[in-house]
């Protein structure tokens, strides 16, 4: 009797231990591997599943897609990289790659030993995913930040459709005309990528220098934020929301505001969901002339992946001319291969998008990344609204953020 109970207890304990240890590793059981990606909708999931399929065929193993919403993706990834549970294939955004390099495999040797034609990629997109001269991911998309706007709202307010290269003065005049028609012109945001692009376009202000060092004491950046705060104060722009990163997109989609900053990767989603005719134009240019940031994303291989060759084969296929052509045709990604960009233009289906993208591309510089990128993004969500909404002077808030970052 006693022996039977001891055996039962041991079995129960064993079961518990096994349950506790059964969390997945990067190799998705059997002969498969995991690819982690940010996913925002079921349409996203369907499209990325097809990409995973292409990767699986090339690698000869199953590639299973593991998704999280964009904001949570980075937190989850940071807990996975550096452990044996890291996904083999890792999606990476150019401005965040610096903080993850220790968990990623440099791809240079694999690129050299393969027959991949690396020159077919856009040079800037490749550079954006390299750190200290080492390539950590192959890019699938790239692209300059632009201004999305509501063509119908502009028409209703009797405002002429903006042309690429339009200026801050043009924008302010349009915003005032829209306001007379009870239409808020612009959605402010505290999301790093969009806020930084807005400031750069306004007066060249930056919080990160080209090498990725913080320059939070840059008076031009503070001045640009004060300009945004002025728009909010005058009722020409909607307030920034700290905890809700989608507030600006939602306000734009439901017609609450008539424009917002965005990347080309959003075009498909915006066009599909907007109940109005979508327009694309360059960010309003300030005194320093037209400027914008470009950012891109790609796929890398984790340092702890047990089969890096297969993972690299999958990544190569997932960024092949064929796959990027499909993503471009869907409008999902402005492709990182120069040749496929024409497909994106043909299928975008938005009037004036070619001219706007051409103009933006010519004035785009890479958006730098920092090893403290996520920390900065978190601090922006806490402190950002205070400065963008004009509750506290931008210089004071930026100094506080700098203090918290230890800069």
């Amino acid at each position: 009797m006693r022996a039977r109970f001891t055996a039962a207890a041991v079995l129960a304990a064993g079961g518990l231990v096994l349950t506790g240890c059964s969390s997945g590793s990067g190799d998705a059981g059997g002969d498969g591997m995991v690819w982690s990606m940010w996913i925002g909708s079921t349409e996203d999931q369907a499209a990325w599943n097809e990409v995973a399929q292409a990767g699986a065929e090339a690698a000869g193993v199953d590639v299973s897609l593991q998704g999280s919403p964009f904001a949570d993706y980075w937190t989850k990834l940071s807990t996975q990289l550096g452990t044996t549970g890291a996904p083999c294939i890792v999606s990476m955004q150019s401005l965040r790659i610096n903080q993850f390099v220790d968990g990623l495999l440099p791809l240079d040797d694999l690129i050299t030993s393969s027959d991949l034609d690396i020159d077919a990629f856009d040079e800037g997109a490749l550079e954006a995913l390299a750190v200290d001269g080492e390539q950590y991911a192959l890019p699938y998309d790239t692209g300059p930040l632009v201004l999305y706007y509501n063509r119908d709202a502009f028409d209703e307010a009797g405002v002429a459709q903006p042309e690429p290269g339009w200026t801050v003065d043009d924008f302010e005049a349009a915003a005032e005309a829209l306001a007379e028609n009870d239409q808020v012109a612009f959605a402010t945001t505290i999301e790093d990528i969009f806020l930084e692009a807005s400031a750069l376009a306004y007066n060249g202000g930056r919080v990160l220098d080209e090498a990725g060092g913080f320059t939070l004491d840059d008076p031009a950046f503070a001045e640009a934020v004060e300009w945004l705060a002025g728009l909010v104060e005058d009722g020409l722009a909607a307030k920034a929301n700290g905890p809700d990163a989608t507030a600006d997109d939602n306000a734009f989609m439901n017609g609450g505001v008539a424009s917002m900053v965005g990347g080309p990767w959003q075009l498909l989603d915006l066009k599909a969901k907007a109940g109005f005719e979508l327009g694309v134009v360059t960010l309003p240019a300030g005194d320093e002339g037209q400027q914008t940031f470009s950012a891109g994303s790609g796929f890398g291989v984790s340092a702890s992946c047990s089969d890096p060759e297969a993972a690299f084969a999958a990544v190569t296929a997932m960024t092949s001319a064929e796959v990027l052509g499909t993503l471009a045709a869907d409008g999902r990604a402005f492709p990182a291969r120069a040749e496929q960009q024409a497909i994106w233009y043909e299928n975008a289906g938005v009037e004036g998008v070619d001219a706007a993208m051409d103009s933006a591309l010519q004035s785009a510089v890479p958006l730098p990344g920092s090893a403290k990128g996520d920390q900065f993004a978190q601090l922006l969500s806490q402190y950002g609204p205070q400065m963008v909404n004009g509750e506290r002077p931008a210089g004071e808030v930026l100094a506080e953020i700098a203090g918290q970052l230890g800069e």
């Binding site: 009797m1 001891t6 207890a9 506790g20 905890p243 809700d244």
Partner: protein
Amino acid sequence: MTGEDRTVTSLLDREATAAAAPRATAPVTRRRRGRGAWGPAFAAPHAIGLGLFTITPIGIALVMSFHDWPMIGVPEWTGLDNFGALLGSSTFRTALLNTLLFVVLYVPLNLIVSMGMAAWISPKIKHRQLFRVIFFLPTVTPIVANAVVWRMLYQPGGAIDATSQAFFGLPMPDFLADPQWAMAAIVVMSVWQGFGYNMIVFSSALDAVPESQIEAASLDGASAWTTFWRIRLPLISPSIFFATTMTLITSFQVFIQPYIMTRGGPGESTLTLVQFIYNQGFTFQQLGLASAAAWILFVIILGVTALQFLGQKKWVHYD
């Protein structure tokens, strides 16, 4: 030993006695040995689970707190540096004060509201089961969903602001974006979310108060208020003790509400200790510092709970 444990043990005792009764002549020592084998067998799954998933992580966190432990990379022994850094950090001090402020506001409010509701839905009320379910609903609804809905309610142009504008022509403050209001807004939402649990505890305890004692009191001329204050409350004091202890512990660990509704902002005005730990660990990737902060929180909660257990002798009646 918790109440549940006591019940289980006494049930086991009774069963063992009943089983042993027909064989009253069996040697006493044998019976004891037999029971001894059952005990560890029943306790093993729980003990192993507790050891693996609670005590081991707590131990590992203690080890980590003495290291500079990056998310990716090699840990390095730093002794007490993490604790020193925390005590010198104004952000940590703010998070500690914010957490204390939340506890001081939330715990009494929660207890008052839940006790008030429990007293109100006494057996005399019609549809009391329905009210019980309605008041308990927020507690069983996922807290993340609740927080998202309340974030929308609080927004300018949201339900609260719109109602006030429509009826009184007064715009409401931007509750979650105003440092003066943000913590109060989170406390109100948390009380709404959390009072149902304590209400059920109190309601059940009130139901268990013997009717004869209430009757005796009313025959002696005690008013409803005196009966509640002098008879019912002392009789349900073990439940109040349980509710206070559990509510205090969970309120020190508040995280989801500020994380979803404010991300700790505006500025640091709703940054709580657990969010500080989360930020340090998973956003700033400093697991050593996060572990040190978690240990400080652990010790605070342990201390407060110990104080409560010491203090209960003065006001909790188990008779």
